[in-house]
Symmetry: C2
């Protein structure tokens, strides 16, 4: 941490901005709405964050900083692939249930501005897949896993865990269930998804 300042107002603004950007996106969000949400004069937003763009980036960065360690858990942890997948699935679904807006927000904004992710890649703590790939190759060689490419397995794990949250309105409609049933279904996935993956790749 470089800034010891972090005035109370600054923090209140960031929290309000988080809530508004989260479900309106950059384009849909209005500075006035953020100000109202923070019970504060609109000029304060510019006083602390200069522009909408900079306020947005502050929100995006904190959101991403929250998500990245979750992914690093599965990429860099030292336990066996099976244990990692079981832990990750349970933890990740539990994590997202507490921040359901997160993946949608990040994915949506990265699609809007794909070169935005490049700035992130340099920062330390940015998820890197290399160690995971080596581990997969090793376990295949040891005979505990069927042959599978690390990249593809990683994508599958991400897809199975994240997709239901990103596409929740679609899923609710197709499967024809209400919010409560959806919540239960997601809860079930904490073990369901891990079993599904392990079943597929275990030798």
């Amino acid at each position: 941490m470089s800034k010891t300042k972090d005035s109370k107002t600054e923090h209140i603004i960031l929290e309000a901005a988080k809530r508004v950007f989260q479900n309106k996106g950059m384009d849909g969000a209005r500075m006035q709405e953020i100000a109202d949400e923070a019970n504060i004069n609109k000029a304060m937003l510019h006083y602390y964050y200069r522009s909408k763009q900079q306020l947005f980036e502050a929100v995006f960065n904190t959101a991403f900083a929250l998500l990245a360690p979750q992914l690093n858990a599965i990429l860099n942890d030292d336990s066996s692939v099976e244990v990692k997948i079981r832990n990750f699935t349970k933890n990740y679904i539990s994590f997202i249930s507490r921040h359901p807006y997160l993946p949608t927000f990040i994915i949506q904004e990265l699609n809007r501005n794909p070169n935005f992710v490049l700035k992130m890649k340099d920062k330390k703590g940015f998820p890197n897949i290399e160690k995971f790939k080596k581990q997969i190759a090793l376990e295949i060689q040891q005979g505990t896993l069927k042959p599978v490419k690390g990249e593809q397995l990683f994508i599958n794990i991400m897809a199975l865990n994240i997709f239901p949250f990103v596409a929740s309105p679609l899923i609710k409609a197709f499967v024809n269930i209400d919010d409560k049933a959806f919540k239960q279904l997601v809860e079930d996935r904490k073990t369901e998804v891990a079993d599904f993956i392990i079943n597929s790749i275990k030798a």
Copy 2:
């Protein structure tokens, strides 16, 4: 088809609107930009579609109408689960490669306005999961499939097929590959994903 009209201009506008809405979304799109894209006066947009909202809905409906039959393929086709999954995966990935904007657009806009999907549910042709659930239950009983809930399997199939397209900027960054390598990776998934699923559920 009710309208034999469909003037040429009307069609040009819809195509232009598709392109703009597709990568800017409802909030980010500008009527003037759509007009420019169509090489036409902005007033024409209102002449044919009255409002931005109605033009958007026209675009959304055509997009959804394109996607729905793809999903019905796996839900209502009569072949075995294994065959269906193999066919669907290959066809769907090939389909989306031709319309890479589609799933992101639909998911993004449904998240922006979740009750929008309710209007869709009434229309015939809206994907329904019931038949698929019965088929899964039957094959489990016959001993060709391991026990698995139809809803969860359906979600897994959707997730594995759709997610890479929705989260492509994120995946490219994590797996550290460029557009070309990503394209190859997606191409590989035409068989990869089917194998992954079948491996997991086959008794």
